[in-house]
Each structure stands twice: as C-alpha cells, then as structure tokens.
C-alpha cells in the first residue's frame, strides 16, 4: 500500500467538508473517487497532496521516492507564457531534477506532445494541457499520482486517449493512480476500485464493477428477439431500437438474464448496468 | 542719514573749497594703479558665509587695461566684482568729488581716509570710503555703499611695501541680496524659517588669495 488515509476530517468554519474519510491505494492500482459536486473530492485530494492541512486523521505515504506523490488538481496549472518544453524544464529545475533536453523531449513524446512545438502553452487545447499536466505530475517518478477531474473539458477522443495513458502508467510502470470524477462513464471502465463520496463521507467502497452494479436500478439489454420476449413483457421495460431498457423490480438481474437466456427466440449479446446516481450516492447501512 | 546731511552741509561751507579738487593722495594711488598695463593671476577663492558651504575654489584671471577682466576655472566660481576692481576704476567711472578726512587709525595703522562721492545719479554707489597707507600709497580698505546691493567692505593685504596689487583681498558684504528659493527640492522641512529671516541682515565674506604672473607696467 502506497497511500493510507484514515479518518481525515476538515472543516471551514462551521462547514464540515470532510467527516472522517478513509482511503487507501496500492501500487499499480487505479482507484476512482466519485461523488457529486461539493462532495469533498477536491478538498480530500488537496489534503492528500499536502496543499491543505487536515483537522484530524492520519495520512501515511509508504514511499522512499523523493517525490512520492504527483498530481493535478482540477485543470492543470501551467505557465501559459512558456512552451511545453520550458514548462517541463521549469518544473524539473525547481525540484532539483537534472534533465537534458533529450530527456524532456522524450517525456513530451510519452504523453503524446510534439517536442517541436515552441509556442506558449496558452495556445494549447485542453487535451494537450492535460497531457502536459500529466507529464509534469510524472516528473521525478512518483509512485502515486492523484488526478482530480482529469477528464473535464476533454472531448470523447481526448478522454479515451487519457484513459489509455492512465492504464499504461498503472500497469506498465506500477504507479498507483487515484482519480476523481463526477462522471461514471469515465471511471467505470478504468478503475479497479471505487470510492463513492457524498457530503464529506465515503458512502461506498469496493471493486468498481461491484459498486456500480450495486447501484444499478436498470439495465440496457442488447440482443435479438427481445421485442417478442415473454420474460421481458412481464417486466418493466422500454423498448428501443436493438435494445431494451429494463427497470428492475423485485427480481434480480441475474434471475431475469437466466430466464432470458433460456427463452426460445431470444439471443442476448450484452447487458449494461445503468447506475442510478441517487442510489450510488446513498449511504449504505452499517 | 545724519552723516549724509553733514556731508551736504560741509559741502556748502566755503571753507571747504578744497574738497572740490580730487584728493592728491588718491590721485597718486590712481596714477600708480594706472601704470599697470596687464597681468595674469591665479586666484584662490574662499567663501565665509554661515549658510554657505563651498570648498576653496581656484581660478585664473587676466587683466588688460581698458578691457574687461576675464576669468577661467574648471569649477564653478563666483567672484565678487568689487573684489576684482584692483585699480578702483569702478569708483572713478562717473564724475565724483572727494572729501579728505585726514589721518585715521585702521587696525593700528595710520591711514589717510578719503571719501569719494559721485556727482551723478548714474553711479551705482552713493558713497565710498578709501583708507590709504600714505607712505606706500597702498589702499588698505575701501567701503562702498552701493545703491542696490548694500555695503561692501574690502580689505587689502600686500606681500610687500612696494606692491601695487594686493596679495589677499577680503570682500565683506550683506547677504540679503542672495535669494534662495525655498521650494527647491531637498529636505525643505528642515529649513528654520526664523534663521532665514536673520540671514537678511547677515554679512558674509569672500577671501581672494592672488598670485600674480606676467605683470606689465608702464
């Protein structure tokens, strides 16, 4: 385990922003932190990254690296008047990292940026800025990277590219990655584990798929013969072209899928859970 | 005022017909001074005024009879014009009469005192007094009451009894004629305005130490 935060509390005046949050991260693991706006995600990340002090709780970072944690908070903060190369140079120098021009150029290439581009980064697209921010977060080879809302402002292509990079960092370099978002779609496929935070408390935690499924109250079922299925006719469904939106009732999804798979004339191809956000953010009983 | 009235009264007195002639000792002094055709001199100027701080300045002067004195210096120098009138020609410029007051003592020395009174309004002074050492015909002191710039006392010292030109000149004058603009930048709040008023009556002096070269005489 690289990072272990226990019972972290933070208040701003009378407003209690974090009410005893515990979270951990291991090498090579991708953890997601999901919650609505104002849930305390950014505050927690600022505390983990040392920008904000905590009122109570413990934070252990088990790493011998000179830079154990790297991170980006919200949008990456860059020196807009410097080029990408110069930004990396500046951030390298301030932490005493001796890098040659070739080193910096290869770091730019690793995040998909061209080292030949000399114009200031204020001219860059959001996706390019995110990639440069990631390169800066990765300077000095941290063992853990914390990314706060890294997908915000990116187009679907940009999101996909960043997801691939994150996966690569975790799997190939064994970096523990903690990502926050308020978007399920972005985190669902990416994360190994998920924490759900709401109103300053962790309301759910566990393997990502399990968490998302627990909060699923409907499913999109893909297949053929669905429109004439008797099993589906008995359930609360909305028929769409090529799929059916099934709203769960008393039966579990497993039971319905078992009956559908044995129903003649029906061929199932996929079943995608539709997580109900209200259910997701609801606190699970102790 | 009283002394002026006295002079006018004595002038009217017939027993002083001799005052309409130029005093013979003054004539002799003038003739001696007129014998100088030209000279060059190095002047060291020292200012002695309470609120002026100026280091000793040096200048070169050139005198040629009949021409204005010329001055050259690397530094800024301000030399009183009265101090440069070695031959007292400025006193003789306009018609004048003299009044001999006979022998007087000046700092322990016997002197012949002559008053020079211009007889025209065009003159820039109202009366001048000249103390002359009768044996050497050297002018020891002049006191000039100017119309615009107050009273000058000029003291002359010589390096020898035969010298016509003085080696040291002290020009003492009133400093009320010097206007200092208070709003000049600087620590103006430190100016003691009471002191400023006093300086209106203050007297200052400038010392000229002169070394002559190339003296040409008739």
């Amino acid at each position: 385990m690289i990072l272990d935060a226990r019972d972290v509390r933070k208040s701003y005046g009378s407003l209690e922003v974090l009410k005893g949050v515990s979270l951990s991260l291991s090498s090579g693991e991708i953890c997601g932190l999901i919650g609505p706006n104002g849930a305390g995600k950014s505050t927690l990340f600022r505390i983990l990254l040392g920008l904000v002090s905590r009122d109570a709780g413990t934070l252990e970072i088990h790493s011998g690296a000179s830079k154990p944690l790297g991170g980006i908070i919200e949008k990456p903060a860059l020196y807009g008047y410097l080029s990408a190369f110069e930004n990396l140079l500046v951030f390298s120098r301030i932490q005493g990292l001796k890098q040659s021009g070739t080193d910096i150029e290869s770091q730019l290439l690793q995040v998909g940026l061209s080292p030949n581009r000399k114009d200031p980064v204020r001219n860059f697209s959001m996706g390019m800025k995110q990639r440069l921010g990631l390169a800066i977060a990765l300077l000095n080879e941290p063992e853990c990277v914390i990314l706060d809302e890294p997908f915000s402002g990116l187009d679907p292509m940009g999101i996909r590219t960043l997801q691939d990079e994150i996966r690569g960092l975790a799997k190939a370099r064994g970096i523990g990655i903690l990502i926050s978002s308020h978007n399920l779609v972005e985190l669902g496929d990416l994360c190994d584990r998920l924490y759900v935070i709401n109103q300053g408390e962790i309301v759910r935690e566990g393997p990502a798929r399990e968490i998302l499924q627990q909060a699923a109250r409907s499913y999109i079922i893909y297949g053929t013969g669905l429109e004439s299925s008797a099993v589906l006719a008995a359930a609360h469904v909305e028929h769409r072209t090529g799929s059916v939106l099934l709203h769960l009732g008393e039966d579990s999804i497993h039971a319905i899928l078992r009956r559908l798979s044995t129903e003649p004339g029906v061929i199932l191809t996929a079943c995608v859970p539709q997580t109900n956000l209200a259910a997701l953010f609801e606190k699970t009983p102790e | 005022m009283k002394s002026t009235l006295l002079f006018i009264l004595t002038l009217l007195s017939p027993s002083l017909l001799s005052s309409q002639e130029i005093d013979p000792i003054l004539v002799s002094v003038k003739e001696r001074a007129d014998s100088i055709i030209s000279f060059q001199a190095s002047v060291q100027m020292e200012v002695d005024i309470s609120f002026v701080n100026m280091p000793v300045k040096e200048a070169e002067i050139w005198f040629t009879k009949g021409a204005p004195i010329s001055i050259s210096s690397e530094d800024f120098v301000m030399i009183p014009k009265r101090g440069l009138d070695f031959t007292l020609n400025e006193l003789y410029r306009y018609p004048f009469m003299t009044l001999s007051l006979g022998r007087v003592q000046l700092e322990g020395r016997d002197c012949h005192l002559v008053k020079i009174i211009p007889t025209t309004d065009a003159s820039d002074y109202s009366i001048a007094s000249v103390w002359i050492a009768p044996e050497t015909l050297q002018v020891l002191k002049t006191q000039i009451s100017t119309k615009k710039n107050g009273v000058y006392d000029i003291f002359y010292s010589y390096s020898g009894a035969q010298e016509i030109l003085p080696a040291v000149i002290k020009v003492a004058f009133e400093v009320s004629g010097v206007k200092i603009p208070l709003r000049f930048l600087g620590r103006d709040t430190q100016i003691d305005k009471g002191k400023k008023a006093d300086s209106a009556q203050e007297r200052g002096a400038i010392y000229l130490r002169i070394a002559y070269s190339g003296l040409t005489r008739k």
Partner: protein
C-alpha cells in the same frame, strides 16, 4: 534554493510584462530628467538672478550632477510605485494561474518557495536600480556635462564634480535599501491579499501613506529613529556638508530590520495558509 531562485528569474525575464515594466521605468526616468532640467534651470535663474550684478560667474551649475540630484529626489516615489506593482505580480499572477499549487505539488517546501520569491524580487529590484543608476549618470553627463553640484540642504552647499559624483553614488546606494524595503513589502502584500488588483491598491496606499508620514515632523528622537517612514529618506543625509555616517548607518540597519520583519511575516503567513 538556488534552483528555485534561478527558475524565478528565468520566469520573470520570459514574461513580456517584465519588459513593459522596464520600458515604463525608462520612460519615467526620461520624464523625470526633462523635468529636472527645467526645475534646475528655474532654480538657478532665481538663485543667480540678483547675484549677477555683484558677482562674476565661471562654470555651469546646470550640469549633469544637478540633474542627477534632482532625479534622485523624484526617484523615491515614482519608481517604487511601478516596482511594487511589477514585483507583487510575481506572486499574484501565480495565484491567479494556480501555478503556486502546481509548484507545491512538486517536492518543494512552501518556505523555500516563498523565500525564493523574496530573493528574486530583491535581485530584480537591484537589476532595475542598476540600469537606472547607470543610465541616469551616463545620460546626465552626456547631455549636461559635469560640474559643481549646488544643493540647498541646511544651507547652500557646493560640491566639486568629483565629490558630487561620489556623494550621488552613495546616495543611490543608501536609497536602494528603501527600494528593497518596498520590494519586500510588495511580496508580503501579495501573500496577504493574493489578488492582483487589491494588492496594487494596497501597495499604492502603503507608498502614499509612507510618503505622507515622512513629511510629518515628530519631536521624539525615538520616533524619528525607529518609525519606518522616517527611515526611507536616509539618502538625503549624504548631502549634508558633514555626512553623518553613523546616523545613516543606524537608520539603514533599522530599515533592514523592518525589511526582514516584513519578509518574515510574509513567510509565516504563506507557510500557515492552505493553498485552496
């Protein structure tokens, strides 16, 4: 720490606004020099006016040394005003762009970061002062030549060209301490207020207030020795006929103490504050 300072200076000189500020300082210097010429001429016309009848003059008092002296008088309000705006921007811009947090996400301590800001501010101030001083002397002597300096300060003082040059240099050096003080104040104000416009307003108020307080006369020797506005014009003592070196040294040391104290306040506040 050296890396941080080098990086700060690198960032300062890569920004276009730094050069705008330097240009503004030079334009201001040119205005001040032209104004000094006309002021000097007016002063000398008045001063010499009725002396001309009684004195022969040689030498020109309206020379480079007088211009430099008059420029020196004007420097200590106009230049700090620009400097405070520029120097406070070294930090307020980083707050605005959130690069403060980006830097602190690296293994850089808050203490070292803010100290490097103070040091960079001092280096930049020294740089600006250096080129200002050199250009003032060069241009003044080039256009107006050398000569005696006349100063009206506890009397009328005349200094030879060589002595004037030396005194003017010492005055600039002593006055530089005041500029360093203002530079440190700007960074501390930037720490306290973070937002650029508010910081500029407070900095301008501080400068105006200090200048006004400087003109007040206090009977207390303690106040005159220890109250910081009274320490900002020690350079004037250099033009007293007998230079009171001890007074200048004492005032300078106290001003350095204030500078250190204000820097310490800024460092402590920055260390204690969360980066939100």
């Amino acid at each position: 720490m050296r890396n941080l300072i080098r990086t700060e200076l690198f960032k300062i000189f890569r920004q276009r606004k730094t050069y705008y500020a330097i240009a503004a300082v030079f334009v201001l210097e040119a205005f001040i020099m032209v104004s000094a010429y006309f002021q000097g001429r007016e002063f000398l016309d008045v001063f010499l006016e009725n002396l001309r009848e009684s004195f022969e003059f040689q030498g020109n008092l309206l020379n480079g040394n007088l211009i430099i002296y008059l420029v020196l008088n004007s420097f200590w309000f106009h230049i700090p005003l620009i400097l405070m705006i520029v120097v406070s921007g070294f930090l307020t811009t980083e707050y605005k762009d959130r690069t403060v947090e980006a830097v602190l996400l690296q293994p850089v301590s808050k203490r070292n970061y803010i100290i490097s800001k103070y040091i960079a501010a001092l280096v930049f101030t020294a740089f600006i002062l250096g080129i200002l001083i050199i250009s003032t002397f060069l241009l003044s002597y080039l256009f107006f030549g050398q000569g005696d300096l006349v100063v009206f300060l506890e009397g009328l003082s005349f200094y030879s060209a060589t002595e004037a040059f030396n005194r003017l240099m010492i005055a600039f050096l002593v006055g530089s301490l005041t500029m360093f003080f203002y530079a440190v104040v700007s960074i501390t104000l930037a720490v306290l207020f973070q937002e650029a416009t508010v910081t500029w307003i407070v900095a301008a108020l501080f400068l105006i207030g200090t200048t006004l307080l400087l003109r007040l006369e206090f009977d207390s020797e303690w106040v005159n020795s220890l109250f910081f506005p009274k320490l900002t014009d020690s350079w004037q003592y250099v033009f007293f006929s007998e230079i009171p070196y001890r007074t200048i040294l004492n005032k300078s040391l106290v001003l350095i103490g204030y500078t250190g104290l204000i820097a310490w306040i800024g460092i402590r506040v920055f260390q204690k504050r969360d980066i939100t």
